[in-house]
């Protein structure tokens, strides 16, 4: 029994994956080799994020959860770096960082290197500090919210916190003007709403992976989170902060790859309907 010859719809519906992956790689590499410089419009959520930080009064203390894993670094780190730049440009803002991810401390060091913190004239232990990875997710959040000194007595390198002036007068969630969270975990991003916002009403800015944004929107709608953004919007915050970096660079690639996806959806559906209406089975 001879096999039926392939129609054009069959070929269109069954493009080998190697060709698809090759096309994807071309769509990533070509805009990187020949940048086009597509514009990056600023969204309402990123503007609100920026404005919330700009509105911080002098003397404010900000808590940052550097809670993402290595897998989320390419997406979240550019946004984190730009936000730290904005915080450090403001006079007299202190930043206390902790991590609910066990990769957090090392990724924080990486981000600080990318930020080139020396140019801001900030001093570790006086203007900013990292108090380390604390296991337990919500248990850690609740413990730190109640009392940092009862939870930990050292920074992430093991140096006693008593040596650092930044921690004077800063002990519980009530001492913080703002909570900023970068995370790849739903447990973390939602846990901060339960453990900090619900108990202490600390204003909360949440930066998560783009795929997690829909699950966080109900909190934003209910006013529990001031702004939910995705790391993929890093280009926008970099433009607002006037510190272009990886985020702005990715704009061209994201545009071209998304055009490819739309084209693939169209081709796939043309093939499907073409085959259907010409009497073939999918």
């Amino acid at each position: 029994m001879t096999a039926k010859p392939k129609t054009i719809w069959d070929r269109l519906e069954d493009i080998p994956r190697e060709i698809l992956y090759g096309l994807l790689l071309v769509c990533i590499i070509v805009p990187m080799l020949f940048p086009i410089g597509f514009p990056v419009p600023i969204s309402v959520e990123v503007k609100r994020w920026y404005d919330t930080i700009e509105a911080l009064p002098a003397g404010s203390v900000v808590m940052v959860d550097f809670g993402y894993s290595g897998g989320g670094e390419p997406e979240l780190a550019p946004f984190a770096v730009a936000t730290y730049a904005q915080l450090f440009r403001k006079a007299d803002i202190k930043v206390v960082t902790m991590s609910t991810s066990n990769e957090g401390p090392l990724l924080w060091e990486k981000a600080m290197t990318e930020l080139n913190i020396a140019r801001f004239g900030k001093e570790y232990g006086k203007d900013y500090i990292h108090i380390g990875y604390i296991a337990g997710v919500e248990t850690a959040m609740a413990a730190v919210g109640k009392s940092i000194s009862a939870t930990t007595t050292t920074d992430y390198k093991g140096t006693p916190l008593s040596k650092y002036s930044i921690m004077q007068g800063v002990d519980s969630a009530e001492d913080f003007a703002l909570l900023i969270v970068y995370t790849t975990g739903g447990d973390q991003s939602e846990g901060w709403v339960r453990q900090w916002y619900t108990s202490y009403k600390t204003p909360y800015l949440s930066c998560v992976l783009a795929m997690m944004v829909p699950t966080m929107l109900p909190y934003q709608k209910a006013g529990q989170i001031v702004s939910v953004v995705s790391g993929a919007q890093a280009g926008q915050i970099e433009i607002l902060v006037k510190a272009p970096g990886r985020g702005v660079k990715s704009a061209d690639v994201i545009t071209v790859t998304h055009l490819l996806c739309i084209a693939l959806v169209v081709v796939g559906n043309i093939a499907y309907f073409g085959k259907k209406f010409s009497g073939g089975k999918s």
Binding site: R17, E18, Y21, L24, L25, I28, I29, M32, G71, G72, E73, P74, E75, N102, E103, G132, Y133, I134, A135, E138, T139, A142, T151, T152, T153, T154, G158, E190, V193, R194, Q195, Y197, T198, S199, L209, A210, M211, V213, P214, P218, Y219, K221, A222, G223, Q224, S230, G231, A232, R246, K249, S250, V253, I254, T257, H258, C261
Partner: protein
């Protein structure tokens, strides 16, 4: 650049290429990278587990708080779960963790994910607004209510007959939400791929000999994708 940094970049680049090779075919380089990843993940968790035990447990204990000795005993007892006969001993420390988790979650979930969400929905105005805004708010309330109904009333009588309209509306609402989530997932993954390709192109390939090494690495990976029996070398052992 320091030698340590150069070696680090080379290793990271090789691992990146080997992991991406699985998109095309399984091969020994990918398996090697995959096993490195799993071993490193387990080791890293262990390292930070020890770090936390020393910082939050050992430090208070050596400072004189003898009650922390109980926690150490409980923590060690957790590893009895790997014992054939005495696995039940590990239930005691696990019960403490579960109890803490339930206590922390229950006391705030009711407020944050139940009451706050219902209040926010109930406060949405439908009348006295522009037509489109009023319609949007009404649609919001309808989709929220139908989705809650869809998940709570799962028995057949509640989903059949005229009541099936409720499930239909809920499903359409969720399809729109999933379409939105899907597009955002695409954005997320492509952003991550960009990050790795950016590293390869702008951090690795600018190093000396990296441009020469790239085709060699790719040829070796492609060769490794050939099934063992079809490879001219090395010959499979019979």
């Amino acid at each position: 650049m320091e030698l340590a940094s150069v070696v680090q970049i080379w290793l990271a680049a090789l691992f990146t290429i080997w992991i991406y090779s699985i998109a095309f075919r399984d091969n020994p380089f990918f398996k090697f990278a995959e096993h490195t990843f799993v071993g490193a993940a387990a080791g890293h968790s262990l390292v930070y587990g020890v770090d936390n035990i020393l910082r939050y447990g050992w430090a208070p204990l050596t400072a004189g708080n003898m009650l922390y000795a109980v926690v150490f005993v409980l923590g060690i007892l957790m590893y009895m779960r790997f014992h054939k006969t005495y696995f039940w001993v590990s239930r005691v420390p696990i019960s403490v963790i579960v109890g803490i988790g339930i206590g922390l979650t229950l006391r705030s979930t009711v407020t944050s994910e139940f009451i706050a969400q219902i209040v926010s929905t109930a406060q949405m105005k439908v009348l006295g607004l522009g037509a489109w805004e009023g319609f949007s708010n009404l649609l919001f309330i309808i989709i929220t209510l139908t989705t809650v109904y869809f998940f709570i009333f799962t028995f057949p009588k509640a989903q059949g007959g005229r009541l099936s309209l409720i499930s239909t509306i809920a499903r359409y609402g969720m399809m729109a939400a999933f379409g939105y989530s899907f597009a955002n997932t695409v954005l997320s993954r492509f952003n991550m791929i960009f990050g790795r390709i950016d590293f390869l192109m702008n951090t690795w390939l600018v190093l000396p000999y990296a441009m020469l090494a790239l085709p060699v690495v790719l040829i070796l990976v492609i060769y490794a994708m050939i099934p063992t029996e079809k490879r001219p070398w090395p010959k499979p052992k019979n």
